[in-house]
Amino acid sequence: MLKGQNISYKRGENSLFSNLSFSVKEGEALAVKGANGSGKTTFLRLLIGLSHPFVGTLSWKGNPLTAKNLSFYQRSLLYVGHKLWLHPEALIKDQVRLWHDFYGISLAKIEQALEMWGLSNRLTQKISHLSQGQTKRLSLSRCHWLERTLWILDEPQAGLDQTGKTILSLALAQQLEKGGSVILATHENVSASKEIFL
């Protein structure tokens, strides 16, 4: 599905990583591991086409990604990074409406996902009053209602409690079962089909 060959990235004079090759097929998960500052986030942003320039080739379903077909590829991605894209002044129900308007997904579907993540009883709570784990859950609930072929998640387990991690594992398993793919940066042990070390 997504294949990278000899990918190298430099920030200024420092080389973050060089000659990385990987491939993720349908139903596969790729775990990106490495120490703090090794370039995991940069690597993921590079995969979604938000970091340039880099050396090497990325191809999606056999076709090299170019400026022309990049936006088409990006439309099949779900990216949850360190910025969780939650409005701090909003109540959870306001955020749900913002998502509904932005993605055109039904309110019922989003609320159903919130129920899975244990947030349905907090709809009238302000996002700035939520704990770090709860905001992470809220942001990760996108996995349940935004149907995308490839998920790219940046340290999704960070800040989650055991229940949150279980819900996330179930969501990941469901995605792989459907024939989707997952690339996630993580420090934890996950049962990914493939691993890459930076």
């Binding site: 076709n63 439309r75 990074g81 306001d94 308007d101 995308r148």
Partner: protein, 270 residues
């Protein structure tokens, strides 16, 4: 009439989907290979039409959540006008003559220094990544933001200007004229505010940069609107400068959308 309008707004922009897909389809293989069966990431015409309408609603909702900032901005505008009126003294002729310029300059400053921080806040929350990964082009997002700012900041600002013009002893005719120039020029102003925000997203001391980069672009708006006022005051036909004001405002909207889309993609990098 309504049916025609409805068809225009619903059908014409749907053609945009063909524009997106066309270059890929022309290549033949790519478009087919990119469409996975069990997922629905291809944007159908109806979904896209829905996206466009929803996007404006999203921007209005989002901007409304910043109501505190908007109120502070409007308060600044009113207070500055009040101070100006006090500072100019009781001479009615001076007040009347200087009012349009003061209203316009303050509208420019208020917009250019209040809109970019809102955008920065959103970028800090991660909006830019989402815009770049959204099925609609960034241009649609910028357009929706311009529309939302016109509705939630522009209209109240103009109404406030009308009210505050009482302090400047302006005749009703002048008040109507200056309000109409503001109404016509505000889309251009808000577009420049958005553009300033995008261009200075990652810059420290963005306020000064905005002044250097964007303020010169507001000069045509200011000059044409003041020409309208001056020609009206002299009893001449102000149609020509009014048309120039409209076209300048539209040009600035288009320019901001074009440059802003490109700059958004660049600012997402790195």
């Amino acid at each position: 009439m309504f049916q025609h309008l409805k068809r225009f707004f619903y059908d014409v922009p749907n053609k945009l989907e063909d524009i997106w897909i066309a270059p890929l389809s022309a290549g033949g293989v790519i478009a087919r290979n990119f469409a996975p069966k069990p997922f629905r990431h291809r944007v159908s015409s109806s979904t896209m039409s829905g996206y466009r309408h929803n996007l404006l609603r999203r921007e209005i909702r989002n901007l409304y959540l910043y109501q505190g900032t908007l109120l502070a901005t409007l308060s600044f505008f009113a207070l500055a006008l009040f101070c100006m009126a006090l500072g100019l003294g009781p001479e009615e002729k001076i007040l009347r003559q200087s009012a349009p310029a003061i209203l316009w300059v303050l509208a420019i400053l208020t917009t250019l220094f209040s809109v970019p921080p809102l955008l920065k806040q959103e970028a800090h929350e991660g909006l830019l990544d989402e815009i770049l990964l959204h099925p609609l082009l960034p241009a649609f997002h910028i357009l929706s933001k311009i529309e939302a700012i016109c509705l939630l900041l522009g209209l109240p600002l103009i109404l406030l200007g009308v009210l505050m013009s009482l302090l400047f002893a302006m005749p009703l005719e002048d008040v109507m004229m200056v309000s109409s120039t503001l109404l016509v020029g505000f889309p251009g102003l808000s577009a420049l505010g958005i553009l300033g925000g995008i261009l200075t997203l990652h810059a420290r001391g963005g306020g000064l940069l905005i002044a250097l980069l964007i303020l010169p672009f507001t000069l045509p708006l200011l000059l044409f609107s003041l020409s309208v006022m001056e020609m009206t005051r002299l009893g001449l036909d102000s149609f020509a400068p009014f048309c120039l004001l409209i076209s300048t405002s539209l040009f600035l909207v288009i320019l901001s959308i074009g440059i802003g889309s490109w700059a958004l993609r660049c600012s997402g990098e790195g």
